[in-house]
């Protein structure tokens, strides 16, 4: 049950927050989680909505399991969709929400009841069937939305920023929970997110989008280690852009600093600011050429070096990604 998009194009006339897609081809392998990652306005949600059939592409085709489904209406596409806003039916109990798709399909009553209780157990909300959605927390609601989407046994599961409205702690918990769920129930899944950590943690295949086009597609390691272009290098890992005649980027954790003892040269910099964030320390250092770069290092390493604000330090750029200038427009 793989999903494939070929040369998808969608333009929106006039104003609106919905981003355009300008020719995107991608593949989502069967039984895996694939992430559509990108900043806001990159067209990732529009792309997902085209896969679901909620948006009609201006050009291009969508294939599910090799079959062209571009002209098949939403309700016959047999996909599951989870919205950032949960989109639960407020006047129905949790159990009725989960049962909705099955009732529409006119399944026998006892089969529905059995399926619903199995799904509620699966999302660990077995006790909540008689509640109303408004009585649940955000994380619980999103799990119900997922159960509702899974009830009809969709061929593909589409998640549109599913954890976007939740606080960090719940988000991290739900991420791990989703991974375990996926091991148990390996439905082909497309996940839209702007959070690279989420994409890297949850998926084996990442499609990174930029302004309606694919910037790079590959495994998280490929994208992290071998960014294909300056956009990817800058987007992934919050990299610093360096001065020079080529586009060069270095990630904060790939920069080493130690105290300077009288040395001089291009690699000497001044510590302008330092912030301790839990297990690591973030420094802003001003380079000779006027650039400021961000450095991130583990707390213990930092403490060993005895660096303070205003110190002169030697900067060691360990892993710089360079690109010939002008090849890519960002």
């Amino acid at each position: 049950m793989s999903v494939e998009g070929i040369a998808l194009v969608k333009h929106f006339g006039g104003e609106g927050e919905v981003a355009a897609v300008r020719g995107v081809s991608f593949q989502a392998p069967a039984g895996r989680i694939t992430s559509l990652l990108g900043p806001s306005g990159s067209g990732k949600s529009t792309l997902l909505r085209m896969v679901a059939g909620l948006e009609k592409p201006d050009a291009g085709t969508v294939h599910i399991d090799g079959r062209d489904v571009t002209r098949i209406p939403v309700r016959e596409r047999e996909v599951g969709f989870v919205f950032q806003s949960y989109a639960l039916f407020r006047h129905m109990t949790v159990a009725d929400n989960v049962a909705f798709g099955l009732r529409i399909r006119k399944r026998p009553k006892d089969a529905i009841a059995k399926k619903v209780s199995a799904l509620l157990d699966l999302v660990q909300l077995g006790e909540y069937g008689h509640r109303l959605p408004d009585e649940l927390s955000g994380g619980q609601r999103q799990r119900i939305a997922l159960a509702r989407a899974l009830a009809t046994e969709p061929r593909v599961l589409l998640l549109d920023e599913p954890f976007g409205a939740l606080d960090t702690k719940v988000r991290v918990e739900l991420r791990e929970w989703l991974l375990r769920l996926h091991e148990e129930l390996p439905v082909t899944t497309l996940l839209v997110t702007h959070d690279q950590e989420e994409a890297f943690e949850l998926s084996e295949h990442v499609v990174l989008l930029d302004a309606g086009t694919v910037a790079q597609a590959g495994s998280p390691t490929e994208i992290y280690e071998r960014p294909a272009n300056p956009f990817v290098a800058a987007f992934v890992g919050g990299a610093n852009k360096l001065a020079g005649d080529r586009d060069a980027f270095v990630r904060p954790q790939d920069v080493g600093v130690r105290k300077a003892h009288g040395e001089d040269g291009d690699h000497v910099a001044i510590v302008e600011r330092l912030v301790r964030i839990g297990g690591y320390v973030k420094l802003s250092v001003a380079m000779k050429d006027g650039h400021t770069i961000t450095v991130q290092m583990p707390k213990h390493e930092f403490d060993e070096r005895g660096i303070e604000r205003g110190d002169r330090v030697l900067v060691d750029l360990r892993d710089v990604k360079t690109f010939p200038r002008g090849d890519y427009a960002i």
């Binding site: 939403v74 309700r75 599951g80 806003s85 639960l88 039916f89 509702r148």
Partner: protein, 285 residues
């Protein structure tokens, strides 16, 4: 509860007090206000009627002409409120869902029946629906008479009641999350199924409120009806008109008797609608 809890709640109460004048003052003001403006005149009405004695009230209130008037007033108001609940919701739907040129204008036009002197509405409706009017003539050709019939009364009440439904349903429709409908479609529901199972349950408490307001307005409406109805006793005479007629004939006792019946029935009807709304709300929670 921890030992610190009581002072905390006490403090919260103290900060609450700062926002609005105290409970005693605001409640006292509310009761006095309602008493002077609403209850006092109504009390005077009942008192006046009671001077007739029970038998007298009964006789005045149940004469045949009065019974026909009640029937028309409440029946026409009911029909008009039902029509409005349906078409008012449709208007609200169109105004919220479809961006079209001139939407703001249409939105403003909806409120006109609120603002227009009802007599003006009555004259306008009569002119249009009279047997020689723009719409009256073709309708008469089809054998449908509107002006000077009970149908005309319903038309006038539909006109004055429309904004009530539109204005109560509109905000609810606006607040509906469009993703909820999309979720329903993805789950396999047709548009009709989505409307019935997902949208309508959210909408109908507001429709009921609008219906109640339109009904109440219809029962009390006078100005727009008297022109179009023709005011034939027993046939197209509404109860408020009958009251005015009696007053003009210095039959104050008869007028108050009918008014008391109107008051009682309206109160009961609104109570019933309120109970239905409470039931609807309880069904949701």
């Amino acid at each position: 509860m921890t030992p610190e809890a009581p002072p905390l709640t006490a403090r919260r109460r103290a900060t609450c007090r700062g926002v609005l004048p105290g409970f005693g003052l605001s409640l006292g003001y509310t009761l006095t206000y309602l008493g002077v403006l609403v209850l006092l005149p109504l009390g005077a009405l009942v008192l006046r009627a009671s001077s007739l004695g029970p038998a007298g009230i009964l006789r005045a209130a149940t004469e045949e002409r009065a019974l026909a008037a009640y029937g028309l007033s409440f029946g026409a108001a009911l029909v008009a409120a039902l029509v409005n609940a349906l078409f008012g919701t449709l208007v609200a739907w169109v105004l919220i869902r479809y961006p079209f040129p001139g939407r703001k204008l249409v939105d403003a036009i909806v409120d006109l029946p609120f603002a227009l002197p009802t007599a003006v509405a009555g004259i306008a409706l009569t002119a249009v629906y009279a047997p020689t009017g723009w719409l009256g003539a073709p309708l008469a050709g089809l054998g449908i008479e509107v002006a000077f019939t009970r149908v005309g009364v319903v038309f006038a009440l539909v006109f004055v009641g429309l904004p009530f439904v539109v204005r109560t349903v509109q905000p609810v429709l606006e607040a509906l999350d469009p993703h909820v409908e999309e979720a329903s479609a993805v789950l396999g529901a047709t548009r009709l199924q989505t409307f019935r199972a997902v949208i309508f349950p959210e909408l109908w408490p507001a429709m009921l409120t609008g219906f109640a307001l339109a009904f109440a307005r219809g029962v009390g409406e006078y100005g727009s009806v008297v022109f179009i109805s023709g005011n034939m006793p027993h046939r197209t005479e509404i109860a408020p008109l009958l009251i005015v007629t009696k007053l003009e004939q210095y039959d104050y006792d008869g007028a108050t008797a009918i008014a008391t019946v109107m008051l009682g029935v309206s109160f009961l009807a609104l109570l019933g609608i309120n109970a239905a709304q409470r039931l609807a709300r309880r069904a949701r929670t």
